[in-house]
């Protein structure tokens, strides 16, 4: 069972709620994914359309809401959004996103670390979205992040886990859960992240823009479960060389004849 900040999650698939064609499809897709954590964003109310309320669409089921700070360009903006999110839902969970470059939407490591330090002190449960930088992951963990969310590839690109080499190091070193976020474009990408030992994955675009988002959500749920089971079963290692199946003896450079 995955535990983040004392809360248990039986599903290791987290869903983003953006870019769906309608609230109804979104709600159905979330139900099909069996996920227990959904991200939401904060925006100004559309005063022309006051009834457009995502919480109403999501309301029937029990989820942990993970408000994000999308749109924040620096730590101060993120902290302001974090406080608004807490006031809006009364929960301290937060996906911290600080993305100063509107083109790539890559996260700013320095501002993210600054904001994490402050928000943890203010009592938030902070899950920072970050580039797959192992040292940054450790510093965010030391600053009190409840989990780290390294990106697989830039957000919305569907390119999969291009940062696998770095994510493997993060998974090996971190004390907190590692949630691979962003860039996961296919169930196989999610399975791959889980096989590596990621604690969870967060998926949005790949589901919301699929031909049939509900069916795709179900496919992701299976992939995440399969990947996790494979990890727990203990994967065989890839190797470029064939390996002899009986012990080698003699004539090796590492000669042990000196042993008494």
């Amino acid at each position: 069972m995955l535990t983040i900040a004392g809360t248990e999650f039986s599903s290791r698939l987290f869903l983003g709620t953006g870019k769906f064609s309608s609230s109804a499809v979104m709600a159905e897709a979330i139900a099909a994914s069996a996920c227990q954590m959904v991200t939401v964003a904060l925006r100004r109310v559309d005063l022309q359309n006051p009834d457009d309320d995502i919480m109403k669409a999501l309301g029937q089921r029990e989820y942990t809401f993970l408000p994000n700070t999308s749109g924040a360009r620096n730590a101060e903006e993120a902290i302001r959004l974090a406080n608004l999110a807490r006031a809006a839902c009364g929960s301290c969970w937060l996906k911290l996103e600080v993305t100063p470059d509107p083109r790539t939407l890559l996260p700013d490591p320095i501002e993210t670390l600054r904001a994490t330090e402050k928000l943890v002190k203010d009592g938030f449960i902070v899950l920072p979205y970050m580039n797959a930088d192992p040292i940054l992951a450790l510093k965010l963990q030391d600053a009190g992040a409840a989990a780290v969310m390294p990106l697989g590839s830039p957000i919305g690109t569907n390119q999969g886990v291009l940062t696998d080499f770095q994510i493997e190091i993060i998974i090996e070193q971190a004390r907190v859960p590692v949630v691979v976020d962003a860039g996961i474009g296919a169930p196989s990408h999610a399975a791959y992240a889980m096989e590596m030992g990621a604690d969870a994955v967060l998926v949005n675009t790949a589901i919301s823009v699929a031909g049939d988002p509900v069916a795709m959500a179900a496919a992701f749920a299976k992939a995440v479960e399969a990947g996790r089971s494979a990890f727990e079963a203990g994967m065989g290692q890839r190797s470029k060389q064939a390996s002899a199946s009986s012990p080698e003896t003699g004539n090796l450079s590492s000669n042990l004849e000196f042993l008494s």
Partner: protein, 66 residues
């Protein structure tokens, strides 16, 4: 009097409260959060919060996002 509401100018009768403003906009108080001049106003203070000329009001809610 004039206030800025979600970035747009809005003309309001003077000394209107936040409760009245939200009712006029047909917004349920439950799922939104109000920031007045960058300070978050708790729902139980809407009634006693009177708006004044030049106030910046932001009304925010959750939307879909990843």
């Amino acid at each position: 009097m004039n206030i800025t509401l979600n970035g747009k100018q809005k003309d309001l009768p003077s000394s209107q409260t936040l409760t009245q403003l939200l009712a006029d906009l047909e917004l349920p108080a439950k799922t939104i959060v109000v920031e007045l001049n960058t300070i978050i106003i708790q729902p139980d203070s809407y009634e006693k919060t009177k708006l004044s000329e030049g106030d910046q009001v932001e009304i925010i809610r959750f939307v879909g996002g990843g």
